[in-house]
Each structure stands twice: as C-alpha cells, then as structure tokens.
C-alpha cells in the first residue's frame, strides 16, 4: 500500500519551509486559502470592485451557511468510506414539514407568531432529520446495504415525501422569529453583539492555545516556539476581528433602517443612519456547528472511531469498536445537520417548497472533497470542508455577479471540482 519511509526522513511539513513547519500550519489548508484568495481577487478585478465589498461578502457568508453545515457531516460520512446522496432530499422533506408545522399545526395550538414557534420548529427539524438519518444509517450498518444505494433510494423517497406533505403546494410565509435563521434583516445580529462574539472568540482562541501548550509542557513533550504560538494567536484573532469589522461595515438598507429607527423612537436624521448588519445568525450557527463538529471529530472517542473505521474497518472491528453503531450515529448526525440546514434555507426563502435543497447533495459532497476529504476514506477535516463550501459558493456568486449564464456556471463549477481533486491527489503523492 504505502512504501515504508526511513525513520530519518524529515516529517512532511518540513518540506514547505521551516517557518511554516514551526507554525505547524497545514500546507493543504494554506493552499486552499490561497485558491480562495485568487478567486476573490480575480472576481473583484473582473467585476470592477464589487466582489470584495462588505455587502457581497456578507451575502456570500449567508449563502454558504446551509451547504457548509451539511458539509461538516459529509466529512464524517465520507471518512467512513460511505456517501450520502440524500442530504438535499432530506433537507427538502424536513423543510416542508417544518413549513407546515409553523403555518398550520403549531398555530392551531399556540396561535400565530407565538414566541415558542421558532424554537419548537428547530427542535422538530433536528428530530425529523436525525431520525431519517438514523434510519438510513441502520439500513447501511445493520442490514449491510451499500450507503450509495440506501441514500440513492433516499434521494427519491424523501424528495417524493417532500411533495407528499402538501401535495406540492408551497407553504409561505414563515414565522417572523423563525425568519431570523435565514439571515436577512431579521437574522442580522447587529454591531454590538458581533463585537462581543468576536471578543469572546479571541479570548477563547488565546485560552485554548495556552491550555494546550501548558498541557504539552507538563508531559515534557516538544512544543512550538513561543513566537509561533503568538503568531498563530495573532493570525486567528486578526481573522475573527476582520470578519466582525466586515460584517459591521455593511449597513441596513435605508428603508429598513428607518423603520427600525422609528420603532426604537430614534429621530431619522437628514443623511440617514448607518446601522450595521453585524454577523448573520445562519453564519454564526454554521461557525458554531463547525466548532462543535471539529470537537466531536478530534476530541471525542466517537470521532476517533469514525477515523479508525475509515482507515481500516477490520482493525476497528478487531479493536472492539462497535463499528455498526458508530456508522449508524454518523448518518444520524448527518440527518440532524440536514435538519439545521433545512431551517436556514426555509427561513431564507421565507417559504417551504418541495424543490428546496435540489442538487444540494452534489454541492455538499463537492465541498467536502474540495476541502480535502478523501473518497478512499480515513482522511478529512471539518474546517477544510467548510472552506470548500466557501470556495464553491464564491465561484457561484462571483459568476452571478458577472452575469455568467447558469449553464456556463455549472460547467465551471464542475470543472473546478475535477481540477481541485486532481491537484490534491498530486499534492498527496508528492508528500508521500
């Protein structure tokens, strides 16, 4: 399989320069960030400076959220050497169910616009999505039906079920509080909240780095030089604060701002008011999901088992791991994430349609694969997949901005997917 490497060979990271190797930053991740930078700057030049504006980047972040959330789950699915083709259809059926729930079922008991509607609907979405995922996982793990087949069937079944919920009728509009999940004006958290979140995030980054350093020192393991830790902390905090500043640099449209001012008893000044959007709720959810999933994948026993199964299913079994139950949970988690994404896309559209999430499975899989998840199993990162989702969405948004026709957009996205995987395989071969 792999050629044995002499123990004197330098570790792979050393090949990309001693500075980077000291920082222990993954060279693949760096390559993806570089690709993203090229795409962003390229579109900015082609569009005459429209792409890299707070407004476009804010929209881009909201558009990425749904696929990015599902991509985090797809990483684990693909890592276990499986695939889930049904995520778009699950999103569709969950979207229809929660649409009907908040427009017809819940109002019958709670009345319209009840404050409990939105939280109940989110719980329902996660429960339905998670149950569908667990059921498919059971078929795959305990009945040993290939995941490709189960989820291909699922794609048809759940898409059909989405139609069945209302026999094809679109359900609209959504509950006002629920609409916050879609971003937009309702889901913009405002300047103060955004800065508070950014400050907390920076604090956590520094604490986490310090904690891990102290722990390694206590066991007498080698640690990064102090300056490297400082550089990493500065970089991470810099990214967080820049993102917060960008989100706060995009003001609410004049009409909305005026209504807000009137509602809060503020006089509308002559030149208008600059009321920042701040980070959008779906983006915050996606970031939290990304952090939680990274924690699960790297810090929890479950994540370790997922990777072990992907690396060598037989070894995992012989180690006493309950591989079937682990696999079932992976698909359950995937379904639960589809439920969260269903909330975001339904809220964003302000309507539940039975076509919601069509082709999402392909974008989700593409995001995970562009983000470095190996279809052979055993390899992948949550952060990479989310970055992959951002790359895909950037391409798409950029082309929309340039007025590229839809068929051509698809051609470009398809070609980029193939190209990205080829470049990645070249890279992997080189470091081996």
């Amino acid at each position: 399989m792999t050629a044995p490497v002499a123990s004197t060979a330098p570790p792979p990271s050393a090949a990309s320069g001693s500075f980077l190797s000291k920082l222990e930053i993954d060279a693949r991740m760096l390559g993806m960030l570089a690709a993203l930078a090229v795409i962003w700057i390229g579109f900015d030049l082609l569009s005459g400076g429209v792409f890299l504006t707070p407004r476009n980047l804010w929209n881009l972040s909201v558009q990425t959220a749904s696929v990015a959330i599902m991509a985090t789950g797809m990483v684990l699915v693909i890592v276990t050497r499986n695939i889930d083709l049904s995520v778009g259809a699950i999103l569709g059926v969950v979207g229809m169910i929660i649409g009907v729930a908040q427009v017809q079922w819940l109002p019958a008991y709670l009345g319209l616009e009840h404050p409990l509607t939105a939280p109940l609907v989110v719980v329902l979405a996660m429960a339905v999505g998670g149950s569908i995922g667990l059921f498919q996982g059971w078929l795959i793990a305990y009945l040993s039906i290939p995941s490709f087949i189960v989820t291909l069937g699922g794609l048809l079944v759940w898409r059909g079920a989405a139609w069945w919920v209302t026999t094809g009728q679109t359900v609209a509009p959504m509950d006002t509080r629920f609409k916050a999940f879609g971003g937009g004006v309702e889901g913009a958290l405002g300047a103060t909240t955004t800065w508070v979140i950014a400050a907390v995030a920076c604090g956590l980054i520094i604490i986490a780095l310090g904690f891990s350093r102290r722990r390694r020192l206590r066991f007498g393991f080698p640690v990064r030089p102090g300056w490297a830790d400082a550089v990493i902390a500065a970089l991470a905090c810099g990214i967080v604060l820049t993102a917060a500043a960008l989100a706060n640099a995009y003001p609410l449209p004049a009409g909305t701002a005026r209504r807000w001012a009137e509602a809060n008893g503020i006089a509308w000044p002559e030149g208008g008011l600059f009321i920042p959007h701040g980070v959008a709720l779906p983006v915050l959810i996606a970031i939290v999901v990304g952090l939680v999933m990274t924690f699960i994948a790297t810090r929890r026993r479950f994540g370790r088992y997922v990777f072990a199964i992907g690396g060598n299913p037989e070894a995992a079994e012989l180690s006493g791991i309950n591989t079937r139950w682990t696999l079932m949970k992976v698909f359950g988690l995937m379904g639960l994430l589809c439920g969260i994404s269903a909330c975001i896309s339904t809220a964003r559209l302000n309507a539940a349609t039975n076509a919601a999430g069509t082709l999402d499975e392909l974008y989700v899989i593409a995001s995970a694969v562009i983000g470095g998840t190996s279809l052979a199993g055993g390899v992948g990162t949550i952060a990479g997949a989310m970055l992959g989702a951002l790359v895909m969405q950037s391409l798409q948004s950029g082309m929309v901005l340039l007025g590229v026709d839809t068929p051509l957009q698809n051609i470009v996205v398809g070609a980029v997917l193939v190209l990205a995987v080829w470049v990645d395989s070249l890279y992997r071969r080189r470091i081996k």
């Binding site: 044995p4 012989l318 180690s319 006493g320």
Partner: protein, 259 residues
Amino acid sequence: MPTNGTTPLVEMRNISIAFGGIKAVDGVSVDLRPGEVVGLLGHNGAGKSTLIKILSGAYKPDAGEIYVNGEHADISTPRDAKRYGIETIYQTLALADNIDAAGNIFLGREVLTPYGTLDDATMEAETRKVMARLNPHFRRFKEPVKALSGGQRQSVAIARAIYFNARVLIMDEPTAALGPAETQQVADLVLQLKKEGIGIFLISHDIHDVFGLADRVSVMKNGKLVGSANVQDVTQDEVLGMIILGKCPAGATPGPGAS
C-alpha cells in the same frame, strides 16, 4: 498430553467452525499454560488463523468451549477476549493507517479526561513509555502509522497487545514481514514475556521460527488437529511430516486429524 500440573491459562476444547459448508476448524483442542509458548503450525489454509480468531473473539465458533483459568469463558466479540486478558497481534497488524501510534495502541480503550474528551497527552506519554521498551529509536509519535516502516508498525501492534497487561498473547505470523534484526527483536521479546508468565500462542508456517521459541507445538491440517508434542520429544523432520503428511510420530500425542 503432557502436563506440568498447573491449570491451563487457556483451553480450547473441540472447537469447530464452518464457512459455507467447509469446515475450517473441525473439533480442535489446544491448551496453553502460564509462561509457555505453544507453536501452532500448519500449511496456509490449515485453519490456524481461524482457530486463533475464535480465541480473539473475531469469529464465534459453531461448537466447542473455551476455558480461561479452568473456568468457562464466553467470548463472542474482540472486547470479550480482551476482558479475559487475551491480546492478539494479527498477521495484518490490524492498524488504522491514518491514525498515530498512540491512537492505535489505545484504539477502543481510549484514556479520557474528566470531561469525557480524549486524553491525548496521557496516551502519548504512555505510548512513549511502552515504545521506549520495545523500540527505543522510535520518534514518530505524531505521524499516522502509514508513514512508518514495517518494523515500526510491528512494534506499534506489539505495544498495543502488551500494554494492557495481557495474560495470553496470540502472535499470528509475527515475523513474516520483518528483516533478520527485527525478527531477532521479536524473538527476544517473546522470551522476555514468557519470563513474565505470559502464555503465548505463536502461529507460523515457518517451522524454524517456532522450534527456537516454542515449548510445545500443535500441528493442524485441513482444519483438524494432527497432534501435539513437546519440542524436545520430536525432531523437526517429524514435525514437518505432521504438517505435510498428517503423520503423527511416536513422541507426539495424536489428534483426530492424524492419518
């Protein structure tokens, strides 16, 4: 059967298992005492690996019983076997290639922090200790084991088996993929573990390997036990006859497979 009075550490009685009508193991009985090395010999396909996979919990036998320290043991999963102190080093090593040495050694038996998260620091520290004993030059603790050499991978697999205080160690073709120096290392380790009172099943198709290390040999052919013998009671040629022809010499106790 030769006895030295002590209760066998492990006794497998009349074990049978069939796959699709073919009896891979047919009424085989073997036993193992503390501090003893028993060589399990036979051609490829004789049923040795299948027999020990039953002991390690990978397969469930169709018939037969397993006794640990004289008491009936119910082993139906690898986890059960490990609970009885039975550890296995598989021929394939059974390592998850994408995970580092510590992750593999503690796979399925992770050390957790009080918060329920993986305690990687403790696991790495323990790994450094056990690897210092097995392979003092081992330095690549942070890399996935696929980046390691054959010998290094072997030491990780051995470390996983002995770290958890094994009482019975099953080694399936432990030296098949190793060079002469590394083979000698494994032999030294076997003798050291034997001194610590661990019972070892040594599975091999190489008779020379086994004769140097084993106290007794059991030979299998076509899923049946040809016979068992103390190594000093038989010659290598006689054992070769057992393996190839299924002929049981005078110095050995014949089994049901003897012709």
